[in-house]
């Protein structure tokens, strides 16, 4: 079978890539685009380490054949990081000691970004549900859930500051 050309808007920039049939969005990002911040944990949609935003929705990129999302918008952890400093979600994870080995962190942060995009004022239950597809084997989740809620406060404060 022949390779296909797929166009994606990755972190705001238009990218074209030549992919073999069956190539996952995860492999397209990591191998083709060199965006290794999206982690490969299980390749079976079980761990959430590869979570990215696809047209604003959280998806596990290992479960998405990239040929099926031609012309889509994809946002990864690399795109979240501003030129200076950190995104408020990243600040919340950093200051809340919500990372340990760091392998699940990109996915956790992107799942948080997906949550806050549609629900800027989540309850604790909303936060738990938003990261329920993301496995962390180090922290026991409490610090991560606290960081998600803290991130909501920080994002909303930053939004108010911009509006003022």
């Amino acid at each position: 079978m022949k390779h296909a050309v797929v166009s994606l808007t990755v972190n705001g920039a238009e990218r074209q890539m030549l992919v073999a049939p069956g190539t996952t969005l995860l492999d397209a990002l990591r191998e083709n685009q060199g965006l290794t911040g999206t982690r490969r944990g299980c390749e079976q949609g079980a761990c959430g380490s590869c979570t990215v935003l696809l047209d604003g929705r959280t998806v596990m990129s290992c479960m998405v054949p990239v040929e099926t999302i031609d012309e889509a918008r994809v946002d990864t952890i690399e795109g979240l990081t501003p030129p200076q400093g950190l995104h408020p979600i990243q600040e919340a994870f950093l200051e809340g000691f919500a990372t340990q080995c760091g392998f699940c962190t990109s996915g956790m942060i992107m799942a948080t970004a997906g949550l806050l995009a549609k629900n800027p004022d989540p309850t604790r239950e909303d936060a738990v549900r938003a990261i329920s597809g993301n496995v962390c084997r180090c922290t026991g989740y409490e610090a991560i859930i606290d960081a998600v809620l803290d991130a909501a406060r920080r994002v909303s404060a930053a939004g108010s500051a911009r509006a003022a």
Partner: protein
């Protein structure tokens, strides 16, 4: 974060604890939250080959036929590695600290000892071609009886080439501790309380699976990017297995996507480096999630019998422990874990008569190895469950029972080390206070420092 309580043992410290109890950011956290932390898999090289293992589908069997030719027919398959390609095929991880014999083949020669054991390695241009090649390798087996129970294994036909189903410690079939006279003390005790405790294997299940990339360099060295937790064990074992000087290998690691002891064994690196040396191309060997769950070594299953001789007033005067560590098919770190288990007995208690037999047993289960306090963790589960059983039997407060028997500074432990820096009494007192559990004055005023006359003696 709460400041640590530094009011205990002030005379034992020279300076104030000015960092402990404060929040200090991890050095790597900024990399984690930006996704810039580099894990081993985040490097890749032109021309990199992918390695997939053919694995045993039997618990214990002779390999009567191994045909790799069909794999070579798959487009993209470059080479298949078997035991014949490995310069020094037999090893044991702790060899460099004097553990012997070499009991594990990098790739087995004529038999497999557990389900999932690696048999041969297929190298291909893509992961898909490597998988397809591995699928086409033909392995014929002649099944042999398999043993899955540690006590059964002690008496069943030896299945390993060194001739015993247990590790031999200085001429003995177990690691032994003898202290005082347990039989005499059992005869004199008011009660004998005996229970059996058992645990299952526990998989670490790190989010990042085990893996490495081995890359041949222009200067004749091989660089290995790995997520091992044990760079130097890996370096040493690779040099021995590959038959090359240590300075021909460069290990790059330090960032591990979850380890918990599960990435201490030397599993993926030697064979990937061998593939790199034989093909002169970079080779990547990454466990799939299924491989991580099935073949990476778990915490050992243990079976522990504890027999206590107890007086009516709560003093434990004798403790006999018979402990079995299920090493699975190969030694790895289990011999060390079993020694640690023996040294940990009889727990943090001063018991004047102790008898321990700790067996490191081979079975046809997945080899077990390191995991968070291995050798001690399951022992503690058994010991503290036993303390609760004793307390319940005597109708005593479990905290008071522990305080009566707690070790203190200066006491002699069963393995002939004098106790130093004990804090068990203070920890129990603090736990009692925090949980609103009231202790009578003679227990509330105990100290790990004070040696009361006659304490610890029957």
């Amino acid at each position: 974060m709460e400041k640590i309580d530094a009011s205990f043992f002030p005379a034992e410290r020279e300076a104030e604890l000015d960092v402990v109890g404060t929040s200090v950011q991890r050095a790597d956290a900024r990399g984690h939250v930006t996704g810039r932390t580099q894990f081993y898999e985040d490097v890749s090289f032109p021309g990199m080959l992918h390695l997939k293992m053919v694995r045993s589908t039997r618990h214990h069997a002779l390999i009567s036929n191994l045909d790799v030719a069909p794999a070579m027919q798959v487009p993209g398959v470059v080479r298949v590695l078997t035991h014949k390609d490995v310069p020094n095929n037999w090893y044991t991880i702790l060899k460099l600290i004097g553990v012997e014999p070499d009991d594990e083949p990098v790739l087995p020669e004529d038999r497999v000892l557990f389900m999932g054991e690696q048999i041969c390695a297929v190298l291909a241009e893509t992961p898909q071609a490597a998988l397809e090649g591995a699928r086409r390798v033909v392995v014929d087996y002649e099944d042999l009886p398999a043993v899955f129970d540690v006590e059964e294994a002690m008496t069943s036909t030896p299945f390993k080439k060194q001739g015993t189903n247990y590790f031999v410690y200085e001429g003995h079939n177990c690691r032994r501790i003898r202290f005082g006279d347990v039989d005499k003390a059992f005869a004199e005790a008011d009660h004998i309380i005996e229970h059996r405790y058992e645990s299952s294997p526990i998989e670490h299940a790190p989010t990042e699976t085990s893996g490495c990339i081995a890359k041949p360099e222009g200067n004749g060295r091989v660089t290995v990017y790995s997520n091992t937790q044990a760079l130097y064990f890996t370096l040493d074992n690779m040099a021995l297995i590959l038959g090359v000087p240590f300075n021909k290998l460069r290990l790059v690691g330090g960032t591990v996507g979850g380890g918990f002891g599960g990435k201490v064994d030397v599993m993926v690196e030697p064979i990937a480096a061998l593939g790199a040396m034989l093909t002169n191309r970079p080779v990547k060997y990454a466990y799939s999630r299924a491989e991580e769950m099935q073949v990476s070594s778990p915490r050992a299953a243990e079976r522990i019998y504890i027999k206590d001789g107890v007086m009516k007033d709560g003093r434990i005067v004798a403790r006999k422990v018979t402990l079995y560590v299920d090493a699975g098919a190969y030694c790895r770190h289990s011999t060390y874990g079993t020694t640690k288990a023996a040294a940990h007995m009889p727990g943090p208690y001063t018991i004047p008569n102790v008898h321990v037999d700790a067996y490191c047993v081979y079975t046809n289960r997945t080899p077990s190895s390191a995991m968070r306090g291995f050798g001690v963790t399951i022992g503690d589960f058994a010991l503290e469950s036993q303390m609760d059983q004793v307390a319940r039997f005597l109708g005593m407060d479990p905290m008071q029972l522990r305080l009566i028997n707690a070790y203190r500074d200066g006491d002699m432990k069963a393995h002939r080390k004098k106790v130093e820096g004990a804090a068990l009494v203070e920890v129990i007192q603090a736990a009692a206070k925090q949980t609103g559990h009231s202790l009578p004055p003679q227990f509330a005023s105990m100290s790990s420092l004070k040696q009361e006359a006659g304490h610890g003696q029957a």
